[in-house]
């Protein structure tokens, strides 16, 4: 579904990603781990099309299409979803209204009829139940005055409604207490399906206790230095990143 070839990305004149290669198939969950500054979040943001991240080299194919050629909103409508590390507040814009606009933009692109308010609310209620999320989130302005946990839950709720093909989770665990982490993870697990892939960016292995990955990749200084199965994350927890960086350097 996703082929990343030699991806190089620059942020404000600094090269952050120095040639990433990664293949993600349908149904897989890939965890991207690494120390601060290794480029994990940059990877997720570049895939989502964030304007601050300039791709200088490489290629990304998404379902056979050139992902890098698409605008961010186009990518989203084609099924790429990004759960933000720091979800943005949009004062005065009702969360349900926002989500309905997003869903209908996607449906329109897919040539499916747009949902009316009644059908949309039906869908939303289902998703809220699935995620065990309180429906008070609906009537508030997008992320405005949300606690850290509520913001992250709202991201997962957006994901559930938009039903992406490829979901990018950018440090979704940061700032969450253990209960919130469990709720968010259960939401993600409920969304796992043979047709959907996840790229989970995280600093800590603890998230991976809840969202069990099929593959773990360790990023260091803009490159993937090791790839493995779930056990790699456990090893990292025990030994820390220091060894990995060194191991990467030895290669």
């Amino acid at each position: 579904m996703l082929q990343v070839k030699n991806l190089k990305v620059r942020v404000e004149d600094r090269e952050i990603l120095k040639g990433i290669n990664l293949t993600v198939n349908k149904g897989e969950v890939h965890a991207i781990m690494g120390p601060n500054g290794s480029g994990k979040s940059t990877f997720a943001r570049a895939l989502s099309g964030h304007p601050g991240y300039e791709v200088t080299e490489g290629e990304v194919l998404y379902n056979g299409q050139d992902l890098l050629d698409m605008d961010p909103d186009e990518r989203a409508r084609e099924g790429v979803f990004m759960a933000f590390q720091y979800p943005v507040e949009i004062p005065g814009v009702n969360n349900a209204y926002f989500l309905k606009a997003a869903l209908n933009a996607k449906r329109k692109q897919a040539g499916v009829d747009e949902l009316d308010a009644i059908d949309f609310m039906k869908l939303v209620k289902e998703k809220l139940k699935l995620l065990h999320v309180d429906d008070s989130l609906l009537q508030r302005s997008v992320n405005e005055g949300f606690s850290g946990g509520e913001k992250k839950r709202n991201e997962i709720f957006h994901m559930a409604v938009l039903e992406p093909t490829l979901a990018l989770l950018d440090e979704t665990d940061s700032g969450l207490d253990i209960d919130a982490l469990r709720v968010v993870s259960e939401g993600v697990n409920a969304m796992r399906s043979p047709d959907r892939a996840f790229i989970v960016v995280t600093h800590y292995q603890r998230l991976l206790n809840y969202i069990v990955p099929d593959f773990v990749h360790v990023l260091s200084d803009g490159k993937i230095v090791r790839s493995g199965g779930r056990e790699l994350a456990l090893e990292l927890e025990e030994k820390g990143y220091a060894g990995q960086t060194a191991a990467g350097a030895r290669k």
Partner: protein, 481 residues
Amino acid sequence: MSTATKQIEELANTEYKYGFVTDTEQDIIPVGLDEDVVRLISSKKGEPEWLLEWRLKAFRAWLKMEEPHWQNVTYAPIDYQGVSYYAAPSEKKKLNSLDEVDPEIRATFDKLGIPIEEQKLLSNVAVDAVFDSVSVATTFRSKLAELGIIFCPFSEAVKDYPELVKQYVGSVVPHTDNYFAALNSAVFSDGSFVYIPKGVRCPMELSTYFRINAKNTGQFERTLIIADEGATVSYLEGCTAPMRDENQLHAAVVELVAHKDATIKYSTVQNWYPGDRNGKGGIYNFVTKRGICKGDRSKITWTQVETGSAVTWKYPSCILQGNDSVGEFYSVAVTNNFQQADTGTKMIHLGKNTRSTIVSKGISAGRGQNTYRGAVKIGKNASNARNYSQCDSLLIGDRCGAHTFPYLEIKNTTAKVEHEASTSKIGEDQIFYCESRGISKEDAINMIVSGFCKEVFRELPMEFAVEAQKLLGISLEGSVG
């Protein structure tokens, strides 16, 4: 250059949608202004002697006044002698139905989407359409008349209800009030007159559409709305004007009088030609709007959405004279390209337990300059007066400006006055967040701006809220290509 800035560049390229000129033979008097012109206007309208005298008093006062320049705007000097002070469609015979209206004029209204058609009328909007200076058609009046409501062109009110006009005209905005109000009092052409009798709740929104359409013709509308004891009325005013190269002066006066237990809601959507993207042309909108809450428990609400004009200078205000009276001001002002707005309100608390609320939302894009200027005055007898003011500014791009000048004058120690202000920029982050959900950049900006203005939009009558949102969309259109 940031994305937002680029969007504004593109936005600046959007042509004004309502710029066209109707070719109608017009009765225009030569340019220039002196006492003879004032007399000519008055005689063309067949006015009584007292009104002519009032106009002349205003004109003489105006001659002694100086054009104010304290406001935070700059514009080329106005040649008051280069303006024609009266224009009327040449056919002036009484019309019995809309079918008799000049087809050219009808077509203009249609292009603007003015709801003069039957369907619209059936949806409960009474329309008093002002084409340049003379009212062309007035509808629904008989239905309103059954309730004793008077809704007619100002000039007709002068003929049919001289006592009411004489009693109230200039009672809220005196003919000597300010330079532009004095000018208006001397040369006003026409406008609307509304009287709601005691205890009557006006069953429909009253609406007027103004349109400036004669070259070099200043517009001097005069509107007077009186709500007698216990009466309630909601009045809508919406404007568009055709594209012009010359700057056009518009100096209107609106006076509202709310007696005991009366409520007046006055809503405006203003979308006059703002000038081109280089700041050439556009309307000078110098308006004096003021209401008086004369009786106890009366209430006046001003709601405005200002998206047009090259220069806007207006402060819809409330004099809270009655005890327990309430004044409200809700405003959205958009300035784009080279537009300038200096707008706000004055809340003058005189009665006991008077309350006022001010919510102002300024949006600046391009090189637009947006100024909020508001005064809250609490008189020495106004015990337990309350005011809450909130002024928020939103900046799009990095070449625009937002300014806030709140003035407070408090002479009673029991007063409670609050002021909150904020300035924010539409962030790339906000736009990207919307995009990451599949929402296009253009829709994202509209959504963010509408969200910002929500507190004001919800004060507008439903139908107008939709129109206002559309206007906002048009004003910021092209911002995202």
